[in-house]
Symmetry: D2
Subunit: 310 residues, 4 copies
Amino acid sequence: MTTALMAPPLGPLLDDIVRSHTPQRESGSVPATIPHLAAVPFNRFGIAVATTSGELFSSGDAHVPFSIQSISKVFTLAMALRGDGPGTLWSRVLREPSGTSFNSLVQLEVEHGIPRNPFINAGALVVTDHLMNETPDAATRLLRFLTEEAGSAGPFIDEDAAASELSSSSRNLALAHFLKDFGNLARPAESVVENYVRQCSIMMTCVELAKAGLFLARDGQGTHGPVVSRSEAKRIGSIMLTCGMYDAAGEFAYRVGLPGKSGVGGGILVIVPGECAICVWSPRLDAKGNSLAGTAALADLSDRTGWSVF
Amino acid sequence: MTTALMAPPLGPLLDDIVRSHTPQRESGSVPATIPHLAAVPFNRFGIAVATTSGELFSSGDAHVPFSIQSISKVFTLAMALRGDGPGTLWSRVLREPSGTSFNSLVQLEVEHGIPRNPFINAGALVVTDHLMNETPDAATRLLRFLTEEAGSAGPFIDEDAAASELSSSSRNLALAHFLKDFGNLARPAESVVENYVRQCSIMMTCVELAKAGLFLARDGQGTHGPVVSRSEAKRIGSIMLTCGMYDAAGEFAYRVGLPGKSGVGGGILVIVPGECAICVWSPRLDAKGNSLAGTAALADLSDRTGWSVF
Amino acid sequence: MTTALMAPPLGPLLDDIVRSHTPQRESGSVPATIPHLAAVPFNRFGIAVATTSGELFSSGDAHVPFSIQSISKVFTLAMALRGDGPGTLWSRVLREPSGTSFNSLVQLEVEHGIPRNPFINAGALVVTDHLMNETPDAATRLLRFLTEEAGSAGPFIDEDAAASELSSSSRNLALAHFLKDFGNLARPAESVVENYVRQCSIMMTCVELAKAGLFLARDGQGTHGPVVSRSEAKRIGSIMLTCGMYDAAGEFAYRVGLPGKSGVGGGILVIVPGECAICVWSPRLDAKGNSLAGTAALADLSDRTGWSVF
Amino acid sequence: MTTALMAPPLGPLLDDIVRSHTPQRESGSVPATIPHLAAVPFNRFGIAVATTSGELFSSGDAHVPFSIQSISKVFTLAMALRGDGPGTLWSRVLREPSGTSFNSLVQLEVEHGIPRNPFINAGALVVTDHLMNETPDAATRLLRFLTEEAGSAGPFIDEDAAASELSSSSRNLALAHFLKDFGNLARPAESVVENYVRQCSIMMTCVELAKAGLFLARDGQGTHGPVVSRSEAKRIGSIMLTCGMYDAAGEFAYRVGLPGKSGVGGGILVIVPGECAICVWSPRLDAKGNSLAGTAALADLSDRTGWSVF
């Protein structure tokens, strides 16, 4: 529930957030196994807010493209739900918090191949497989969707980065073969992982991501009509709140109080239902894999605007 | 985010909810190990709504006392936080969803005696131990608080039921000794469990519980002043949303979209931030331990009123 | 410790074992996912004993080739140890019982990619990878070794069966990619699994397997000289006793009291140190994956001969 | 299988073992939570061998009493089996290696309250409960048995030590209440733990323990007649080999090749079937909880005598 506070105007507030939270020294970590993510200067920090009334605010490195990584899972889920006429997706993946680290095989084994939710890697592979059933090149379809919603030709798949990530995707290949073993993957494990990695390698800016995510703050309404139904939009929000920040979902709900989805590229997409979509980016991560400066900035922003669903 | 719909007036709506959801036949289960809970007629169903504007609506068996069981955890947490001057409680218990059943020892062992959140049994035992530090008879203190907030002399500890439950509390005793072994329990295991069981054995009606929980919808403001700060109230809400429904928190957030806490006595307390507190009760439970008719009624109510934080 | 009993002569005793233990009706199960194993008639039963004094006894279907499956792991381990000059194998795999089912990924995750022992699938993949370092076509090398020790041109790789098994090797591929992710696999996951599956698809008879395993009863001495050192032979025996029967190693040690290794093809190889090697075969399996009639026959044989290491 | 080597006479050999293995400096650890075990000088080392032919050899601190701790589990199991006319013990506890550390609650939860084997703490509590059914004061009965077999009035229960251990028995109390919750404990959790701790607090010397364990090397024959049947004696040996050394059973079988049982007091009892019982003692432990010098000495002794079941 949003409580209107006497917040300062949003433009100056974002500038202030940028001043306060842009990293001054190297702290946190970068994914050692993904060279192109590790190479980004530590002091990058950008933020953008797209409101349901059509305004756009941004500050800092809000126009620098970065790798969206797991933020893609929100959009893939939306597209899979849109095309899920027969409603079979939810028999293949649950909607519960995982309670363990985001790529654990343990839970998958205990629960016989049904991933806990669509935002852990195993669940995202199932969603990708589901979407590929309809559109084999799911990554390109996702790119087209993001381009349209962002109203920008900017987003692109960094194919070199994707190829590089694919060559170190042993964990995801293990997950995919494991899902296959449980009968919860229709397509070949290798091609699902390849498509998934290409989705993660989409490059976008904070401004583009905030605009692309706006349909979730607008009851499912995208730029060119409904993306998902009002009730599906609310439900995606509930999954973001309970499962969107890896093993720190509870902590993020506690500190920020808004549905969010992070990626190891350092981005976080946050929804203020009825109000706006927010994207923040700073590349260095905390121990749970979420942007260090980004999380702090969002907590600060939530405190100063009163934005919170609670 | 609450979206105002053209909802029917609340009184007739609750009557309709009672007509639709009162169980017509015996389905679901009751806790076999707790005789006094198993004895309640299956067709009991009550609902009450206390609004922040001071109105009270109720229907069905809203004036029949039932065993609040784990709903007590919300109030014990609030009282422990109120008295937690040095702020040490959060070093003894986390705020993350558990991802496993509510009384699992596995997670406790893997995480070296720090429970995942205050609403699984292990976490509630730590909160009770914390509160007993300040007030040895924590259960009686809890009762006094509930009595005051409910504005009713109705609430009481069913000491016979408590004694009976205590005699079959092996699991909770195992948890308490395990916490002790990890150095995360100050008082004797037996006395913490006894106090905890007495808290769970408090008898209240839907009307009383809705009124007692209202401070959480009112930014922490109780009948006689602040119970917790505004920010603590919001945070308790976030823990309810992510951890309040045992292993069905994600599903409840998806279907109902509101912070809630259930008990094996068949009650569920739900908060609509800024609007109202709702209590529903029906004794028979689904496979996850949440009231079957109660959960369905809340999903229906959420759909028909538009109440949802998303 | 072998206690010499007044046992009947071995030839008639084996005939009697065949009479008592040949299955009269279909009980137990066959691996549903491996068509060629499921097709073997249920009433097959063979037994062979090769003694250190050079005698050979056999009865029943002792000359019918069957798929040796996991029994191959004993021989691959011996060959990997023989070639392990630098002694690095034991830094890549432990020697402890697994305590969980034979293809569990859970333990592998908890122990960071170091399999518990060489006889669970994960461990066997590491041993195969280790051996491939020296001899890329490890399966063919294994076949040559078995042919020499068996003194028979009989053993062969059933390449059709191997191809069929490979097409349903999702679990093993998951394990291999998982090991790769932990840095405990040098070669490509796909080629290690392929080689492993071909080892498992070697076809041999009870007589051939008993002769091939005899070096383990003879302090490591094979037909043409030492296969492994005396101390390595004893140590392979200890691993067979503690880890050779999937999750029933303790039960087998309790009932039979001898080092053994079973395969899902229904074979079991057993060593009586200083005395003989025994191979028994009957295709239908108990709930733990060990030959039902084979295990019963070995318990009977152990009782009647006094053969036991205890 | 014992292979007779040209071993030096046993007396001088034990003296040499004492010279080689008596710790010269403080390494390894002692149980921090058990004060009386932590207080023993680090350079204590004793060894004794009692042969089936009636001879006795010893060297070093072989006449110094120490706390037998978990070695008691071997004897309690023997007594429980002797009195287990209806044969119900094996429905309450399995005989499989645990694959996890000796006091894990995880496995107990996964396997619904049936401990993996009688030598992990949970299993020993069940065995004690079983024995108490017949003889409520199981610890005193155990003491009497040990006194008779050792042919010495030396063994005694260190009641002060027992009281001290009992006051820090949270983990064992957790296990006992957990077993109770699963219906696998007949007597009150507290009294089973108390009795168990008193068994562990029995003080004996290496010489006394070697003599008391001799019945296991003699097909079950004790000083005054059969303790257990020949087949039970062999089976206890198999459980010692597969489960006797906590999570290092595989490693011990690999290095020493004999059934053994260790205790955190630093003692290890080893059986050479048909030949002798060996007891070694040195108080400091390795990371798995087994005597550091004791394990090394047994490996050395096994190498030099050829004693091994493999």
